[in-house]
Amino acid sequence: MDLECATSSTDRILVTGSNGFVGVKVVETLLEYGFANLRCFVRPSSQLERLKKVLDRHPAGINVELFSGDLLSPGDCREAAEGISIIYHLAAGFDKSFAGAFMNSALATRNLMDGFLQHGQPKRFVNVSSFAVYSNLKLKRGALLDESSPLEEAPQERYDAYAFGKLKQEALVKDYGDRYRLPYVILRPGTIFGPGQRGLSGRVGIDTFGFFLHVGGSNILPLTFVDNCAEAIVLAGLKPGIDGEIFNIVDDETLTSSQFFRAYKKRVKPFFSVRVPYFVAHGLCFLWEKYSHWSKGQLPPAFNRRRCAAEWKGNRFSNQKIQQQLGWKPRVDIQTAMASFLEQSDPNRT
């Protein structure tokens, strides 16, 4: 690919979360772009089949270094960042507790940035965040949600430990950018889907009560296919002149929740579901929230108006900024992406 780069192909690149759903694709894309001087940060307990398959497919994969460590260990982070020019930080914690999410997202990132500043040759720190950091509480249904939209102010009220961790992570990255001149880019992917990820997004609905409640309805899903998303992430590390920028990652063509759900049920498995309109979901979440408060947490506030809005209110999404500034264009169209996603779970697949 003809690419104007802020780095050369001989610069050393570190990818955290490299054995994950998106991380593997990021490594693959980097190899395709000719960046073979890679160090992949993996957990000691990780089953590395997925990553090793990718490395085996590419001739340059043989030179890729696997670094086994713990991001919560400053020592491991220092060692991993030794001589590194670009870090793609994809490792994410999905701990349900707020403290756990904070540790895995914010503390781990702080350790990595410290290591990078002390022992690396920092050209770019690419921090992969999430759409979860946004709050659409004050946006109308159908309003545009983009990089300028407000961030969640009360992740605890939303009972969203993941969002809390990601918000704190982003704040730390921005702080390091301001205080230590760490060149960074923050990416906020929407709903990433593709082979390797089988479940339905919470934006479609929930199965908490033993059957599926389809709440998403005609909402547009902020979908991004894993290959497209990985390419956007890679570009964010290479493109010059975008330090300090934040980009949402959403594909050009997306589907509504109903379209996605119908296709899923048709191809993967038929199952019982109940369609719940947004205003009903909002009312039920309001009651749940009130009961949780009145009962002093006898039921945790797992359903509340903030979460309801974030998941099911329905907004429009734009990828204008990332297209303009990174020159990114989703390489896989939605039909091919859906076929690839659904095929993995197809019971008739041979």
């Binding site: 957990r43 307990s45 089953q47 701990d95 707020f98 403290a99 756990g100 904070f102 914010a106 503390l107």
Partner: protein, 372 residues
């Protein structure tokens, strides 16, 4: 008004903060963590402005009445000693200390300072366990317990806990003498110690690694444990810890010379088994109906507790903390007798010595041993 401080702002600290906020006449005055970011995230979420990264600095600046220690177990002994020295009562998360010797020393030190100390065996204070204790005190068993059984399960599917543990050999759980077991079995063992004498004549422990853990890359970690115990007066006890039994068990059975009780903490129920004899086929008809009546009674109680906002997840934690604070205010005995804390630690010492011996990285089969 008791002024409370929390040392260690990890996952379990949230549970403590939430429980303390349910209790009247106390407030959280400060939080402390060696990692300043951890202290500030807890303080920010719960509106606690005094956040410290140095324990002595916190003790000097805020002089708390009680300190909750929610750090990894390796630090319990030194941190608790430091808090006692500064004049604070101490609530220590389980396991109390690494060894029985440390447990004994810490309790003696608390006594010498005229301060109170307790351990977070909160499962002892759930509604059904409180009812069990009432029945035992009323003489339902008909005498001293003849036999006890404690079953405790842990689900390896919870990746948020097992993942980091398996991911790093330096994880604090891996550094404990009893590793994974050390961090979780004290709940199940403490239920037994309430009804066992201090003089134990037998402790036989067997442990192995489950196939699931082996497949997860558990290396030297053991996760299936069975223990038989007998005290000098002849009361026997069985302890079973498993990551594999499904549905997960969290049960306590206490059998007396007349009647028995089964407490199921997984579903908050208590079954009274009364020794009655029935003629002929009534043996097969009446007892099941009596059991059905017991289950219905439990369902009714749980519904009433739910309606009364008393069925919350952390009831046991709040109850234990509340009783501990009450013992401080009234200068009454602490909610968990010190004898039980030390006996729990002694039994754990014996178990880990037997199952890990001197070579904790051998194959699981080689850990099997029998010491009587």
């Amino acid at each position: 008004m008791l002024r409370v401080a929390i040392v260690g702002c990890g996952k379990i600290a949230d549970q403590h903060v939430q429980a303390i906020r349910r209790i009247a006449d106390c407030r959280i005055a400060a939080v402390c963590d060696r990692e300043p970011l951890m202290a500030s995230q807890l303080g920010e979420r719960f509106g606690i402005s005094n956040c410290f990264s140095d324990l002595q600095e916190m003790l000097d600046a805020t002089s708390p009445d009680v300190v909750h220690i929610t750090t990894p177990p390796q630090s319990h002994f030194p941190l608790a000693s430091q808090c006692l020295k500064s004049g604070a009562h101490v609530y220590v998360e389980k396991p109390f200390t690494i060894t029985a010797e440390d447990a004994d020393s810490l309790i003696h030190f608390a006594d010498a300072c005229a301060l109170k100390i307790t351990v977070g065996h909160n499962y002892q204070f759930t509604q059904e366990m409180l009812e069990m204790r009432r029945l035992v005190e009323q003489g339902f068993l008909g005498g001293k317990a003849v036999h006890l059984e404690s079953h405790f399960s842990y689900d390896l599917g919870d990746a948020s806990y097992v993942g980091p543990l398996l991911g790093s050999r330096t994880h604090w759980v891996r550094q404990l003498p009893g590793q994974l077991l050390h961090n979780v079995v004290s709940h199940g063992i403490s239920r037994l110690t309430e009804f066992l004498d201090d003089d134990l004549t037998d402790i036989v422990a067997r442990a192995h690694q489950s196939t699931q853990l082996r497949n997860l890359g558990g290396e030297e970690i053991l996760d299936e444990l069975r223990v038989l115990i007998r005290d000098k007066s002849g009361t026997t006890a069985l302890f079973c810890f498993s990551t594999q039994i499904k549905p997960g068990l969290n049960q306590f059975r206490i059998c007396g010379p007349r009647n028995s009780i089964v407490v199921d903490q997984a579903c908050g129920s208590l079954i009274r088994n009364e020794n009655r004899s029935y003629k002929s086929y009534l043996t097969f008809l009446v007892p099941p109906l009596q059991n059905a009546r017991e289950h219905l009674r439990n369902a009714r109680l749980n519904i009433a507790n739910f309606a009364g906002r008393k069925l919350y997840h952390d009831f046991g934690v709040a109850e234990l903390i509340s009783r501990f604070y009450q013992s401080i205010r009234l200068t009454a005995p602490p909610p968990i007798p010190y004898r039980q804390i030390v006996l729990t630690a002694r039994i754990m010492d014996h178990i880990f010595a037997q199952i890990y011996g001197k070579n904790p990285v051998s194959r699981p089969d080689e850990f099997e041993c029998c010491v009587t």
